[in-house]
């Protein structure tokens, strides 16, 4: 891939809280725990079972004596357990890309932030099938002594949540104050409220829906096709070689388009040319938007496993909250006992606000405690990582509004 166009036009300068700042959780480290083994394998929705399963997770803030102040954060497609804070030595952890930036939701998690670590013990774990410390297709298959590759079983959001339940139980936590996430993370939060109604006081579901739209399924199908049709894919057994870098890059480029909005792209790129002049009359990329996508793709290929991309997008495709009601969302919602906060973003065309509102009404028809807010934003789906002020207001109000229904 050409490196000449790795430009980041008009990228808003991100301001991070440094590890020494009072609003940062500071330096953190990933922990590892084995949650399935020979004696206690993890049964999967597909009918198979898997063992061993190791889970990487991080913890911010203190778990109190009663172990009743924990919040579980769920990450999205390309996320990891590193939701907040800084690594001392990202190189040594094998994640050099994390040397200069904090966890992916650092602006929401920390002392005095939306998920206030002075009050709550915040936990985040990497999903099953991922590539950031939790067992996935790049892990060694004990049956062959080689990486699983495509021999890894197909996993679902339900499987992820059942594994997370093992983590929470192993930490001695019976009830969670809240489960929270955006995008695919929001669907895990919803799955938690459905699968373990008695163990979550509340769920915060952001930029997410009860199921992925057909349009979303279509994007994921194209992304997977880009990976599997790369000649370097080698049926998923590419761990000895470079792997399907081109395919994964295309998948990420496509994904990125769906995370932005027409207006945010126009503001960011404005049809500008990379060289600042005009058309180069050549077929190579010469618009800034092309350079941006290439840059995003390149950095993604360096940090993500293509097989994990296949498995995680498949899990996103299969997720359907109505399955808990035999295909009837209203019936599924009967199960829920938690307070629910739903948040959508006006310009999100991947997880549409109207679909979120439908979920809100399904909960309302079941007389559940549900609140729904639609944040006006131009950022598209990515807004769940960017609209920090409004999200903070909602999350804080919701968490604190739980204890009281007074004025």
């Amino acid at each position: 891939m050409s490196d000449a166009l790795n430009v980041l036009p008009n990228e808003r300068r991100k301001r991070f809280d440094g590890p020494g700042e009072p609003s940062s959780v500071g330096y953190v480290y990933p922990r590892k725990i084995r949650l399935a083994d020979e004696k206690n394998p993890l049964p999967l929705e597909c009918g198979k079972e898997i063992r061993p399963v190791d889970v990487e997770y991080e913890v911010y803030g203190e778990l109190n004596e009663n172990k009743d102040n924990a919040i579980l954060i769920l990450h999205a497609l390309s996320g990891d357990a590193h939701a907040a804070g800084w690594y001392h030595d990202a190189e040594k952890l094998g994640r050099p890309w994390l040397a200069k930036r904090p966890g992916w939701w650092d602006n929401m998690i920390g002392p005095g932030k939306a998920f206030d670590t002075k009050k709550y013990c915040v936990i985040c774990s990497n999903i099953l099938g991922g590539c950031y410390g939790t067992t996935g297709p790049s892990s060694i298959d004990p049956a062959t002594g080689r990486p699983y590759g495509l021999r890894f079983p197909v996993v679902t959001v339900g499987d992820w949540v059942r594994l997370q339940e093992r983590l929470i139980s192993s930490l001695g936590i019976q009830r969670l104050v809240s489960v929270a996430g955006g995008s695919l993370g929001g669907q895990q939060a919803l799955e938690w409220a459905l699968a373990y109604p008695d163990r979550v006081d509340s769920a915060i579901i952001i930029a997410s829906t009860a199921w992925l739209s057909d349009q979303g399924l279509a994007f994921n199908a194209v992304a997977r096709k880009a990976i599997t049709s790369d000649p370097c894919f080698l049926d998923g057994d590419y761990y000895e070689s470079a792997g399907p870098e081109q395919g994964l890059a295309v998948a990420r480029m496509l994904g990125h388009i769906t995370y932005l909005s027409e207006i945010s792209m126009q503001r960011k790129f404005g049809r500008r040319f990379c060289n600042g002049n005009g058309p180069g009359f050549q077929l190579e990329a010469d618009f800034e938007v092309e350079g941006y996508l290439r840059h995003q793709a390149k950095s993604f290929v360096e940090r993500f496993d293509a097989n994990s991309y296949l498995y995680i997008t498949k899990a996103a495709d299969y997720f359907d909250a109505s399955a808990w009601g035999g295909g009837d969302l209203d019936k599924a919602c009967q199960r829920i006992k938690s307070r629910i906060l739903l948040v959508s973003f006006s310009s999100d065309w991947l997880y549409l606000p109207e679909h979120m509102k439908k979920l809100a009404l399904a909960l309302g028809r079941n007389r559940k405690h549900v609140s729904y807010a639609n944040i006006q934003s131009t950022y598209g789906h990515d807004a769940f990582l960017l609209e920090v002020d409004k999200l903070t207001l909602l999350v804080r109000n919701f968490l604190e509004g739980g204890g009281q229904t007074g004025e």
Partner: protein, 200 residues
């Protein structure tokens, strides 16, 4: 809408029986619903279109769905709530008839309150100055008022009788106190409140 005139708050609070289900259309910051939840154990839901007010209602522990009333209440079943409240909101929506119909579809009873444009002070002010009245209950200039449909207590009653809507109760706020609404004294009502239901 304006904080000084909360006569309807008190009347509505007293009208709603404990344990009933209540939908508040244009619930604002959720103040009324939070009182009803806390003291009367009602099953409550608010609808509000303004994001900041939605956030405030959430802080009060009130379940609230951000939505524009002019889009109707599709998704909420018929007669799902015992009471549907429309507190000083009707004059601010684009499609008042749609909102009234939806209110009586999803609720057994509707509670509607609004500033009475037929109050004599309003009428006299218009007559005397030749300009749109600005009063404590209609405190806005013509160009920045959220009240885009102005009507009188009698206009509302005409609509009710033409649409087979039964008026169960009526109250007037006279500026000094709350009294039973009487048609012949409607010019003395600064604000009015009606409990309505669909006939048949």
């Amino acid at each position: 809408m304006n904080k000084q005139y909360r006569f309807d708050h008190k009347v509505i609070y007293d009208l709603i029986p404990a344990g009933n289900s209540v939908l508040d259309l244009g619930c604002g910051n959720g103040e009324l619903l939070s009182k009803l939840i806390r003291h009367k154990g009602v099953q409550a839901l608010g609808i509000e279109k303004d994001f900041d007010l939605v956030a405030e209602a959430i802080a009060r522990g009130v379940p609230v769905i951000q939505s524009d009333l002019d889009e109707g209440l599709a998704g909420l079943p018929d007669h799902f709530f015992d009471y549907v409240i429309l507190e000083k909101t009707l004059q601010a929506v684009k499609k008042p008839l749609l909102v009234l119909e939806e209110m009586l579809r999803v609720g057994r009873y509707g509670i509607v309150s609004f500033p009475n444009f037929g109050h004599r002070q309003v009428v006299l002010s218009l007559l005397r100055t030749g300009r749109m009245p600005v009063t404590p209950s209609l405190p806005y200039q013509w160009h920045d008022t959220p009240n885009i449909h102005l009507f009188t207590a009698l206009d509302f009653l005409d609509w009710a009788s033409a649409n087979k809507v039964r008026v169960e109760r009526g109250f007037s706020w006279t500026g000094n106190g709350t009294v039973q609404f009487k048609e012949e004294e409607s010019a003395f009502a600064v604000e009015v409140l009606f409990v309505v239901s669909k006939e048949g």
